[in-house]
């Protein structure tokens, strides 16, 4: 334990915490915008797995990380269109159809991996980019401004998303559709079109989140995400449907994951203790959900399909 409590190790843990928070953050922000428009997407985990595989495979074959990122976004977007058709055009129940997407993603990503790659082959993950000037700051620079590009993207999306939701006409539509779709509809806002957009964006971000995870780890395996997507959904509740709150939650989970990882590397936890530590994120998620259960602010029309005249 004394190995862990040195400045350099703690700083490295913090930096890796921010990095590991990124997939949570991207997925949870995507889920936030969907839920604000009244759509609960429980398929995040499946979309993340597909996005992760897409990014991994594209990078493996072309050595282009940029292409990998692009593929994960596209895969996510396509899944968004599918989920949109299922929940909006077919008005399927959102809870269970999301589970269908999850099982589909779990199976398909494993299938494609076994068929196209077979043996786990590592790829070069994302490299760190130092921000000019800020990166030279002592400590802070090392922790915050020596990260890969997706980390910057994810954290910049927090204010961007806040602005879009709270300060733009489109954001007003999203909130109206999420609270009282009937009223929004009577004022000429297309409920379905608004929701198609939020679902598309949300799923593209889930795909990107998966890509971020695969490119961060530089590897793909069956069930790579192992609950990341579901934790991301819990983070939306934790963050009370606000981007800043979601960011705080993602940081907590990133830091916990980084600490666990660091402990394993330093040999503080080995063998059976590693299993106990491996439960931390799941236990923490349940505790978090219990703690925030009294919180209000849930969009009133969440999970309620909209249909005119009913």
């Amino acid at each position: 334990m004394s190995d862990f409590l040195t400045v350099s190790v703690l700083l490295a843990t913090l930096a890796s915490g921010i990095r590991l928070a990124t997939p949570f953050l991207l997925a949870a922000l995507g889920e936030t915008i969907g839920q604000r428009s009244g759509v609960l997407n429980l398929g995040v985990e499946g979309v993340m797995l597909l996005g992760a595989y897409g990014a991994y495979y594209a990078t493996l074959r072309t050595d282009s990380i940029l292409l990998g990122i692009l593929v994960s976004l596209i895969v996510g977007g396509v899944m968004g269109i599918v989920y949109g058709v299922v929940t909006l055009a077919l008005k399927a129940e959102q809870g269970i159809s999301g589970i269908g997407i999850f099982i589909f993603g779990l199976g398909l990503s494993d299938l494609l991996f076994q068929k196209q790659v077979g043996t786990p082959t590592p790829i070069d993950g994302l490299g760190d980019v130092a921000v000019p000037l800020l990166g030279d700051l002592p400590w802070v620079g090392e922790v915050i401004f020596h990260q890969n590009v997706l980390v910057y993207v994810a954290f910049l999306l927090v204010p961007v998303l806040w602005f879009v939701i709270n300060r733009t006409p489109f954001g007003l539509n999203v909130r109206a559709v999420g609270e009282t779709p009937e009223a929004a509809d009577s004022l000429g806002v297309s409920v379905d079109r608004t929701r198609y957009i939020t679902i598309f964006v949300g799923n593209a971000m889930a795909g990107l989140a998966g890509g971020a995870l695969a490119l961060e780890l530089g590897i793909f395996q069956q069930n790579l995400t192992n609950g990341h997507g579901f934790i991301a959904i819990a983070l939306v509740y934790f963050g009370a449907w606000r981007p800043s709150g979601v960011m705080a939650g993602a940081m907590v989970f990133g830091l916990v994951s980084a600490t666990v990882l660091q402990w394993k590397t330093l040999g503080i936890v080995v063998g059976t203790t590693a299993s106990i530590v491996g439960m931390f994120p799941a236990v923490l998620t349940i505790l978090v959900l219990v703690l925030v259960s009294r919180r209000t602010g849930q969009p009133s029309a969440l999970t309620r399909p909209f249909e005119r005249g009913h």
């Binding site: 299922v86 077919l90 399927a92 269908g100 199976g107 299938l111 068929k115 579901f230 106990i276 799941a282």
Partner: protein, 355 residues
């Protein structure tokens, strides 16, 4: 889909069909694969009827398997006819405890049951790995130094007896079918079942009628978990190795039965009796997929992917069916000539005010 993967679809599907239905041996294997799906599917059905979604089948299977394994390790010498029923009971308790936790979280802390059951799955897997790498590891493995994470061969008194007929079919299959029938009676022929369904159908009316919605949600989760726990028992004591094992990963010994059972339940229209043929179909699909994997080298994960699509399609078609039914009844009320699908329904019972 097969063609996309670069395999001959005809050879693939022929192998799938033959592997699943060709001969008594393959049929028996299909039934064995269907057994946990049926138990889980029936459990999912109970939860669904009570208005909650139980995605925690995996965790509840593991909980049932762990508790029943501990029980048999503790009492290996009890005669078979006493030990077996007790083992099932203990396994059901394990699953019920694990499921009940999600129910309590849902009822008394308003935690979304889908998220809590997924997290409980992850926790159960870690506990299983912890036990099998630690206190429950086969002492023989430690002596040999190979340290494969599984228990010793469990007491022969707890082996599920093979049914006559020369196949690998064992008692677990019968238990699964019996439980499906029992759950049908529970849901549709008892007061408790009526309460569960009422709570699922309309929680407000049920509360008004004096039922405790919270209590019934917890109960639904416990029944549901008990079924999954029994699936865990059949998987451990009906396995060829007669031991509890893990692959160290996320799927352990369950073969994703906790998820595939959901598909079987949905395909069976969330009715315990219809879940019997539905789960047999999916069991056959899984066995056939393995045969297909050998014949044309397409990974069996294909079936999981297809199952996901089945869920999406089944749920997606539910609305289409209700809309068809509604359109039919509305056009009967309104006579001919009105198109009830147009956005401005002239004959709407409650016309909206013009803006």
């Amino acid at each position: 889909m097969l063609a996309v993967l670069g395999a001959n679809p005809m050879t693939g599907y022929a192998a799938l069909l033959d592997g699943a239905f060709g001969g008594a041996k393959n049929l028996a294997n299909s039934a064995l694969k269907a057994m946990p799906l049926l138990l889980v599917g029936v459990g999912i059905t109970i939860a669904f009827r009570a208005g909650v979604i139980n995605i925690g089948g995996e965790g509840q299977i593991i909980a049932g398997a762990i508790l029943s394994t501990l029980f048999v390790l503790g009492f290996p010498d009890v005669p078979s006819f006493i030990l077996l029923p007790l083992t099932f009971l203990v396994g059901a308790m394990g699953g019920a405890i694990w499921g009940g936790m999600a129910g309590v979280l849902k009822s008394y802390a308003r935690v979304n049951e889908i998220l809590s059951t997924i997290m409980l799955n992850i926790i159960a897997v870690q506990i299983l790995n912890l036990l099998l790498r630690g206190p429950l590891m086969d002492p023989g493995e430690i002596v040999k130094g190979s340290r494969i994470p599984h228990t010793e061969r469990l007491s022969g008194n707890a082996d599920l007896p093979i049914l006559p007929g020369g196949t690998r079919l064992h008692l677990g299959v019968l238990v699964a079918v019996l439980m499906a029938v029992a759950c049908y009676f529970l849901l549709f022929r008892t007061t408790q079942g009526l309460r569960l369904r009422a709570v699922g159908h309309n929680p407000f009316a049920s509360r008004y009628a004096g039922m405790s919605v919270k209590r019934n949600v917890v109960l639904a989760f416990m029944y549901s978990g008990a079924m999954c726990g029994m699936a865990g028992v059949t998987l451990v004591f009906g396995s060829e190795g007669h031991r509890l094992a893990t692959d160290g990963g996320a799927t352990t010994f369950t073969g994703a039965a906790g998820f595939n059972g959901i598909v079987a339940a949905l395909f069976g229209g969330l009715h315990p009796l219809w879940t019997i043929p539905a789960s047999f179909l999916f069991g056959a699909l899984l066995v056939g997929a393995n045969a297909m994997q050998r014949a044309v080298q397409v990974p069996a994960a294909l079936i999981l992917a297809l199952n996901g699509l089945v869920v999406v399609f089944v749920v997606g078609s539910m609305y289409a069916r209700t809309r068809l039914a509604r359109t039919a009844s509305e056009s009967r009320e309104q006579g001919e000539g009105s198109d009830s699908r147009s956005p401005e329904r002239s004959g709407d019972p409650e016309p909206r005010n013009p803006p």
